[in-house]
Symmetry: C2
Subunit: 628 residues, 2 copies
């Protein structure tokens, strides 16, 4: 029996002949994702072999369909397929995305270490009571005490100042002062209490994510997310900007709506953590430029007009009360800086979280959303662009598309022999729609099994009752009526496929333009970070198959989840991280895709699956060549 070690767990077992590594893992409590029933179809159970390749079974048909030649060379295998064929020492890694227990963490994004040095801190002050011999005023008394204790000159927040007289007496001259950046007393409280919390908010076009952190230890004490309630006023950035341009009062309306949303998040976070909103003394905002502007009440109007300038790129600290944000009144919200009109603080946070600005390796960062930001480079040079990828990956503009919620099909695989469909729903209930990751899957799978061709059209020769070419538009059945919870079939239409082609072409073209600008070849890219909620769930293989990002080996792809949230949390925990964010925003170059003369031409070529110039996707074309 071979010896099998699972990294990063360090767990060891003996593996029998014909026992799959998936079975061996489960036996010792290592949980690897697998959703197709170990049939080699879903591709979720991938592992990377680091030692003992020579003792393993040859790649199965299923593995060859899922992995490119290069992936296989790099040690990628499916745990449900691979077995040991003779004795030896085998070491495999269960990568992040295959780890069952890491799924929740992924939601939170990459956890990058920062030195805990938040902008706010509490200090305890013991004051002398005033007397006829010392009638120093209350405010001067506390300010002087804070200055003596900290060694910094401080001012005092105006609203806080008004509370000083009562607080000093309530606390019997023992008080807590909350100091912001060693510059300002932003709150005073009677007595002693060391609790201090911060809020990181990622305001996305579609989703709001909030994190409550304990600033004493840097830990996330609660996380919550919700839809951006601005969706009622337009699904994407451009439609919201248009709404604002209709009427100046609409800006206030949109601002109010999103702040109310964030206030609901704050309530939820505080309830989860059992604290009061008044104990939140600092906040960070990350968001694309349009969301940032609207949140702050800054007109986004000119973002949509050439040359698309932001109204404000620099970081800014705004009093929570000026935003009607329901945290301690004297606290500041620090809005991360933007790189350009369409590459906002969220992209800065992505870079901060992934550390690409400090890395030697040439990295590409793709934060997929309704607007997708792409960054390419390393510590020497970084270029960024923004792609209008649209909301298809959020399930919008797709006949049975839906958000990643219970009942959404999140994974799809198609049997190459009979075109039968396997799927998995969120919550393992009857399906009621298809979410973004499965939409990518289904296009990739149809391409692989030959149900659609290079140009995205259904293959008229394919014989299966699921394919209905006579419908207008033509459609492919994913789930029959009796399987679903919506009293109708769930299908993918020719138009849905077209939407996916446009969306992925937008992203690929951006990535390609950055590579060209930087004179970078495929092989030069050492890492691709897939970020954003969608980037967490999408199958990297499926995404690469349809040509969403450059054709690099899977082992170069990292899933980093909501890095905008991670970067925001880093900035919350560390003033130095804010400084870095400011440097990033200043130094990252911006490429305006619309200004590239051949953009349209490149975009059209990129709508092909995976690309009109198939040579740009060498490993995908090889794989397709095999399975077609």
């Amino acid at each position: 029996m071979a010896t099998l070690t699972f990294q990063p767990y360090g767990k060891r077992t003996k593996v029998k002949v014909n026992q799959t590594f998936l079975e061996a893992a489960r036996a010792i409590g290592v949980y690897i994702r697998s959703i197709c029933g170990a049939k080699g179809l879903c591709g979720k159970c991938r592992i990377i072999v680091h030692k003992g390749k020579e003792y393993l079974s040859q790649p199965s048909e299923a593995e060859r369909r899922i992995f490119s030649e290069e992936d296989l060379e790099n040690g990628f295998r499916l745990a449900c397929q691979v077995t040991a064929i003779r004795e030896g020492e085998i070491v495999v890694e269960v990568p992040r995305e295959s780890q069952v227990d890491r799924q929740r963490l992924l939601l939170r994004g990459l956890e990058n270490n920062v030195m805990l040095a938040p902008a706010v801190r509490k200090i305890t002050i013991s004051l002398e009571e005033p007397s006829l011999l010392d009638t120093t005023s209350d405010v001067d008394r506390i300010v002087e005490a804070v200055e003596r204790k900290t060694g910094f000159r401080v001012r005092i927040d105006y609203e806080t100042l008004k509370r000083v007289p009562h607080v000093l007496r309530k606390g019997k001259w023992e008080v807590i002062a909350v100091i912001w950046r060693n510059q300002e007393i932003i709150s005073v409280q009677p007595g002693e209490n060391n609790e201090i919390y911060g809020l990181a908010v990622d305001v996305g076009t579609t989703k709001l994510a909030g994190f409550l952190l304990d600033l004493n230890d840097g830990k996330v004490v609660a996380a919550a997310s919700m839809m951006n309630p601005q969706i009622a006023y337009g699904e994407d950035i451009i439609s919201r900007i248009r709404y604002v341009m209709d009427n100046d009062a609409n800006l206030s309306r949109l601002q109010q709506v999103v702040v109310e949303g964030v206030n609901r998040l704050i309530s939820e976070l505080c309830e989860k953590a059992g604290i009061s909103p008044n104990e939140i003394f600092d906040a960070i905002l990350a968001g694309n430029t349009a969301m940032h502007h609207i949140f702050l009440g800054i007109p986004p109007n000119y973002l949509s007009q050439i040359p698309y300038p932001a109204a404000l790129q620099s970081p800014i600290d705004v009093k929570a009360r000026d935003l009607a944000l329901n945290i301690e009144r004297g606290a500041y919200l620090h809005a991360l800086p933007a790189i350009a009109g369409f590459v906002g603080g969220d992209a800065v946070a992505d870079i901060l979280a992934t550390g690409v600005h400090e890395a030697d390796e040439l990295s590409m960062l793709v934060d997929v959303g309704t607007n997708t930001e792409i960054v390419l480079g390393n510590k020497d040079r970084l270029i960024a662009c923004s792609c209008a990828s649209g909301p298809a990956f959020e399930g919008a503009h797709i006949k049975h598309g839906m958000r990643a919620a219970t009942g959404a099909i999140e994974r799809i695989w198609i049997d190459p022999q009979n075109y039968e469909v396997g799927y998995k729903t969120i919550g393992d209930v009857k399906p009621r729609g298809i979410c973004g990751s499965a939409i990518v899957d289904v296009v990739a799978e149809m391409l692989k099994v030959g149900l659609v061709d290079h140009s995205g059209r259904f293959n008229k020769e394919a014989e299966t009752p699921r394919l209905r070419l006579e419908k207008k538009p033509a459609e492919f059945v994913i789930a029959w009526n009796d399987e679903t919870s919506i009293d109708s079939e769930i299908v993918v239409t020719q138009e849905d496929i077209r939407e996916v082609q446009l969306a992925k072409a937008a992203i690929y073209t951006g990535a390609y333009m950055l590579m060209r600008q930087m004179k970078v070849q495929l092989d030069d890219i050492q890492r691709i970070f897939l970020a954003g909620a969608f980037g967490t769930y999408v199958d990297p293989n499926s995404a690469r198959t349809i040509g969403m990002y450059p054709d690099v080996p899977l082992n170069k792809v990292r899933f980093v989840g909501n890095t905008a949230g991670s970067g925001a949390r880093m900035a919350l925990l560390s003033v130095a991280a804010r400084k870095k964010a400011e440097d990033i925003a200043k130094h990252v170059e911006y490429l305006e895709l619309g200004a590239e003369p051949d953009f349209q031409n490149e975009f059209v070529k990129a709508t092909y699956l995976p690309h009109q110039q198939i040579a740009r996707f060498p490993s995908v074309s090889k794989m397709l060549g095999r399975s077609l």
Copy 2:
């Protein structure tokens, strides 16, 4: 004929024998105040003889009644009495308070010169339009341009920032930025416009005074005043503090009421000057500590409790919008610092305006109000105290007392022969009451003619139908029924006299305690500044006669009007003056009268007219000795 020159006019004339100097003055257009019809009773026409004493008539009975020996030695004469008795060269000075045309100016207070260097200035900026090659954000664009032009690092006001995108385009990239203290862009405007105004406000317990200044030349373009509408909630500081202590919400109410009052003043000022409130880019607040606290929404509660600490002594800059003050939204209001709980920014402004902190001479400054602040010292050392003088001098708590408005008797004199009464009303209409200056006059006159005694009691021996001892309280008729416009007599009662005694005793005791603290004798005092609206109108002779301030020769007394307003205007025009104010507030010592063990005792002695220890008023006692 003698040659007579009137200073400061430099006008010369020949004066005939038996022609009074008042007549000679009128003949050449020099207008000297006189309200009793040149009878030598009102004492308003006083002049100072600088040259040619030997050519003049001897002081008349009337002059001897009005002036002390020392005053006469110093050259004081009444223009309606003095004549030339032989040929010679005579030079007289018409002092400020006797000049008819200077009366309005006195309202405005001492005009102290400052170098024009206000906190705000406008700069014109020409910007490059953004292009695909330069997509710098709107805000960064303007901030960088301002920094280049000024050489200072600046931040930008948050509300102003929100207006930047539209303003830049409206102005076609030619804009005005208003810069505050070379630190912050507080406003942006399209196009070119050099007008820039500032507001100085003196918030008194009883009165609000506002001044609109052109910050380009430092000139007052409009002035206005009104009653402090907080009076409805209590006449004096203590009653307003009690009102606030009843209920925390009352603080907001009082704040709102006074801010609304100031906003009405602003409207009036702007209307007079023909400008918009948005053109006011800076404001200064001077006020006693309680008014300052309430205006800023700071609890004044503890001001009334031993040891009477202020909540805030330091100067503070608060955004106008945070106070709902109707000037440009991004502008700051600078509140002058306080010396102590009851010696506020108004006293600091007084000192700034009179320059006592920079003078070699030992000066006493008395700013008479409902609360009277007194300052004693010179550039080496200054001590201040606060006296609860009450509203008697504003006409309150006096049977027929009224404010200094049309129909108020402002000057009273009593014929020593027959106790007949002469008076002058504001506006020269039928009287409807008595204002503060006449209240002081009447007590002084009654003392001089023997209608009241040293202790303030009516003289039962005096024979005149005007004195009605049978009434409860006993009263003295100032104006008969048919003379008045109120269908009743106007009288002064025994209780009214008592009120005046208490009020003047409070002031004198403060002055005395300061002298004692500083080990200063009467002769050491080189100047007394009488400030405040009341201080402008009161007859210094009458005030001295009743013992309101130490018995110094009249030529040492200066009327300086509303110096709180003057100091506020200086601070508006000069950042350096603000710094001086801050230094003054820090370095002036405060004497808490309540902490002096013999305060009560001293106060009681001071209720006598002019004082129980008559030796403290040598010149007054000499004068009274003559006329009694």
